[in-house]
Each structure stands twice: as structure tokens, then as C-alpha cells.
């Protein structure tokens, strides 16, 4: 029975990884930029929620949309200011740039007087509550995380398949030049993609915060989420979620069954195995150069 609880915890954690990975893959598909800033954007979202809930005393149901919108705008701002000028530079430069962004975000948050250096609990309305499913006690935070991820995936699916903007995003991600010719404003689309990724990271942060705590080092999760994106296949959106779930579950089970220390390492062992066996991930496309 305890296994079941561990499993659900792993799935919830995996959902968080999956959402961060989703943002990474979104940005990669659209602009071929690899970003390591998603983890710290998630952290920023969590802190924003903390400030709105505690310092400013907003109710929860106002906080969540506000944080999502605010982070979306922030993503737009980052893309316009910093990412757009360097499109076309080699991957490595862009990677280092996103590390720089992550450092700036993390540093600024740490510098906020009073809050930045402490660890906080996010006072959500469902904190501490549990639900009993078939004799197993499951914290509501886990279920909220899983449910929110499912809803988000559905919304994104509808966005990409049914809406004009979503189809435009798909077009731009597959062939930028052709999209330009079709009248799609590719640069604005790229901005929207970053906004979307930041908003998704914000949701991840708000869901993670009740499970763990809110602190400036939360962004390190972004590295594990990156591993999840690789496992799922770097060019596949559903793959990102699946990869996240795999990493989350493996991590939880490793923490439960294996001695101390394996919990942190397990996701990376999974990544290494995946890279050796199936370098393009579970759902990735196999692309090779034509000479």
C-alpha cells in the first residue's frame, strides 16, 4: 500500500517535471533554441504566487490566473529582449545565454529582502488535506498536480490542433521560411511560444510549491526536467510529459527501495540508458544529415 502512495507521489512529481520539460520542448520545436532557464522560471512563478498570497493577501483563485498571466508576459519580455537578437547563432551560445537568464532570475529572487533567502510554505487552500482512495491516504496536493497537468495537456492539445494560432505555431516550428511566406508573423509567434512556456512553468511552480517548499534553489529541478525531455524525445510534446512521468516514478521508487543517495541519481541513470539504447528518446524523430 505504501508503494501505491510512493507511486502517486512519483506521478505527481513527474507531472511537474513533465510540464517544465514541455516548456523546453515547445521552445526547441519552435525556435531550435535549447533553454535551461525553465527551471528558474518555474521558481519565479512559485515566488510570485507566494508574494501574492502572503504579502498581498490575494485569494487563491485570483492568484493562480494572475501568476500565469504575469509569467506569460515575462516570457514575452525575455524573448523580445534577449532571445530574438541571437537567433541563428550556434546552439551552444544560446544554451549559455539561457544559463545567464537563469542566473539573473535566481539572483534577483535571492536579493529580494527578507523572502529571497528563506524557505517558505505556499499557503494553498488545500494544504495538508488528504484523500482516502481504497485505503490509501493521498495528499490532495498530489492530486491537484496530476489533475492540473491533465487539464493543461488537454488545453494545449486543443490549442495546437484546433486553433489558428496553434496551427501557425506548428507551421513556424517546422519551416520558418515557408511560414513567413504564408504570412505567419514568425517572430511574434516565437514570442508567444516563450510566453506559453513561461506560463506552463508557472503552473508547474504553483503545483510543486505545496509539495516541496518555495525556495530560490527550486530551479535546479530544471536540470532533471531536461533529462525528462531527452527521455521522451526532444522533439515530441507528449514525449515530454511521458518522459517526466517516467523520471518522476523512477525517482520515487528509487527513493523507496534503494539506499540513500540513489534517489537523486536514478533519473540520470535513466537518461544515460536511454541515450545509449535509443538516442532519440521514446517519441523523438530520427533525423540525419543528407550529403
Amino acid at each position: 500500500m505504501e508503494v501505491f502512495q510512493v507511486l502517486v507521489g512519483g506521478i505527481a512529481q513527474g507531472c511537474v517535471y513533465g510540464l517544465i520539460a514541455l516548456g523546453i520542448v515547445l521552445i526547441y520545436k519552435a525556435t531550435e533554441s535549447v533553454t535551461f532557464a525553465q527551471g528558474d522560471l518555474m521558481m519565479l512563478g512559485a515566488f510570485l504566487g507566494l508574494v501574492l498570497l502572503t504579502t498581498l493577501g490575494f485569494p487563491f483563485w485570483i492568484t493562480v490566473p494572475s501568476v500565469i498571466v504575469a509569467m506569460g508576459l515575462f516570457g514575452l519580455f525575455v524573448e523580445r529582449l534577449v532571445i530574438r537578437p541571437i537567433l541563428g547563432q550556434p546552439t551552444f551560445s544560446i544554451v549559455m545565454l539561457t544559463f545567464g537568464i537563469a542566473y539573473v532570475v535566481r539572483g534577483l529572487v535571492t536579493m529580494i529582502p527578507g523572502i529571497g533567502t528563506e524557505t517558505h510554505k505556499l499557503p494553498v487552500p488545500y494544504a495538508g488535506q488528504t484523500v482516502s482512495l481504497g485505503g490509501v491516504v493521498i495528499p490532495v496536493e498530489f492530486l491537484v498536480a496530476i489533475a492540473a497537468t491533465a487539464v493543461l495537456c488537454l488545453l494545449l492539445f486543443l490549442l495546437f490542433r484546433r486553433s489558428r494560432i496553434g496551427i501557425a505555431m506548428q507551421a513556424a516550428s517546422q519551416n520558418q521560411l515557408a511560414a513567413y511566406y504564408m504570412g505567419i508573423p514568425v517572430q511574434k509567434i516565437n514570442g508567444l511560444v516563450w510566453a506559453l512556456a513561461a506560463a506552463v512553468a508557472a503552473v508547474a511552480g504553483l503545483m510543486l510549491a505545496p509539495i516541496t517548499f518555495v525556495h530560490a534553489q527550486m530551479g535546479m529541478l530544471g536540470l532533471t526536467a531536461f533529462a525528462a525531455a531527452i527521455v521522451g524525445g526532444f522533439t515530441s510534446l507528449p514525449g515530454a510529459i511521458v518522459g517526466g512521468l517516467i523520471i518522476g516514478v523512477v525517482g520515487s521508487l528509487a527513493g523507496f527501495y534503494l539506499p540513500e543517495g540513489f534517489k537523486n541519481v536514478a533519473p540520470y541513470v535513466v537518461v544515460l540508458l536511454m541515450l545509449m539504447i535509443r538516442p532519440n528518446g521514446l517519441f523523438g524523430e530520427r533525423l540525419s544529415k543528407k550529403v
Binding site: 541563428g88 544559463f99 545567464g100 539573473v104 532570475v105 536579493m111 543517495g261 540520470y268 541515450l275 544529415k289
Partner: protein, 358 residues
Amino acid sequence: MRFVFKTTYDQDIDLAQHGGHRLWYGLLLLALFTAPLWLGAYGLSQLTFMLIYSVVGLGLMLLVGYTGLLSIGHAAFLGIGAYTQAVLAAQGWPLPLSLAAAAGLSAAVGIVVGLPALRVKGIYLGIATLAFGFIVEEVLARWEAVTGGNAGMMVGRPELLGWTIGSGAPFYFLCLVITVGCTLLVLNLLRSPTGRAFVAIRDSEISAQSMGIHLAYYKTLAFALSAALAGIGGALYAHMIRFLSPEQFSIIQSIDLLLMVVIGGLGSIHGVFLGAIFLIGLPQLISEIKDYLPWGIGDSPGLKLVIYGLVLVAFVLFEPWGLYGRWLKIRAWFMLFPFYRKGMFKRQKAFQKSDRLK
């Protein structure tokens, strides 16, 4: 303006290609070898750190800058070298042997870490190295019998030929000699077929192969050499800071190393040293100016992160050739005065070939 008339091929093969080179580098070496005379104790210790990081940087530059293989977990090799040296020195091994062992063990692990390089490229390889970095850090923390785990490990003084090398000037000279030696080895490698093979792999693997370059061998060699250099740097690092703990070799340290080579100037040896100067110098600068900053910003631990991040972003946006690139442009301005044109180093914005098809 300088015109270099070349009459022999040796002039192209030599490291110092004209009188100006010989003069300036000669002066630099002179200044470095006499540093204990004109630099205070604190300055000397900072210079020693710079030398140590330069050795590590040489390895990372060889791997990332010259062979084009991304390594995001390089601090792992630093840690392996450091702990190997600490353990062996405690058991009484003489310095040359323990250094060789540190380099050798790091190289062996480097070969293992390089195995994914034979199958995957680009960011995928970066993540594989990141994964290895995490795993090594965890191993260092868990293997308490050897490394003392998270509680850390004290490091004694290095012993060479029966003498104990004390801190300060003697240790500085040791680091200086090793740094100069490693730099010469790397420079030699870069001007011979192996170095050219590395550059070929970076720029076009397919045509490198059709030129007869065995990709697997050279990629593995690049990892082994860069890990060995990081191991040597780590061994010196251990004696310098005298107390090791696993978190000194975390991913943050790895990213700092990458920062060093990027800001220094990717693809040049000068960039290694400029980057090391930056990495050691910036915290100094920050602590100098922090008293002048309002609202107590200067005391916040976040300040260092913000400044590092801003500098990194600024360099990627405005000076992708790094500090060395900026130096080249400044020197060109002086050399060509007054004929320097603003657009001389303008990047050709060609449509970048899609990375997915590389």
C-alpha cells in the same frame, strides 16, 4: 602596422611567430616568475587560483572549443583529480606519482563519459555529461570510506623529493611550472595533426571521416585529455583549498567552468587565461564595489549570481568571441589606426543550417 615576411615554413610552425610575440610573452613569463617579489600574499594566492583554473580551462577549451563536444559536467573530473590527490598524498605518495595517478584516473573516467559522444551529438551529449556529473558528485558524497562523504576531507601539503611544499611562493611556483608545461603540451597538440583532427571533427564530422579521421578515437582522446587536464588542476586545487567536500564539484562549478571558456573566448588558448582571470577576478571586483551599492544590495548572496548572469548574457549578445575577441578588435583598431572601419568584424548573418540535421 606589422608586416610579417615569411621565408620558411618553420615560421608558421613555430609557437612564437615573430619578434613581437617573443618579446611580450617573454616579459609575461618574467613577470610571472618574479611574482612573489612584487605581489602581496593575497594577490599571489589569487594568481595561484587563476593558474589552477587555467589548467582546467585548457582541458575544457580543448573539448568544447576545439573539438566541439559539449561537456556540462566537467567539474566531476576536477573532483576526481582532487580526491585522488588528497587520498594518495595522505598515504605518502610522492607528488609526481600522485599527479600522474590523478590525471590517469580522471582520463579513465573521461573515456567512459566520452562513450555517449560516439553515439549522440550536440545537446544530447551535453545532457549525458551532465548526468555523469551528477552521478560522480553523488558517488563522491556516498563513498565515505574513501572520501569522507559530505563531512569533507582535510588535505595535507604536497611532498616533492622529500621537501614539503609550503603554501605561498613555493606552491605558486609549482602551479606555475605545471601550468606553463600543460599550456605548451596543448599548444603543441594544436599545431600537429591531432589538433587539426579535433578542429575537423568540430566543423564537419562527415568530411573529417572522409579525410581518414577516426571519429571514435579522436573523440575519446579529446575527452581523455580534457579530463586528465582537469584532474591535474583538481589535484592542485585540493592542496590549495586544503579541505574538500563534494558540493565543491557540483553542476554549479561545471557551469562556472563553461562560463570561463565562453567569456574568455571559445576556440582560443588566450581565451582560457582571460576567462580564468575573469572567473577569479570578478568576485574580487564585486567585493570591492559592494560597499558603494545602495540598500544593502552589496551584501546579498544573490548579487554574484545576477552579475554573472548579466555578464554572460551581455557577452553572448554583444561579444560572442569573448574577451579574446574583444582584445583582437581593440588591437586591430590600434594597428590599423586610423583606417579601422566599423564593420570589419561584422558577423555574416547567414541562415544557420538546422541543427536537427547535423
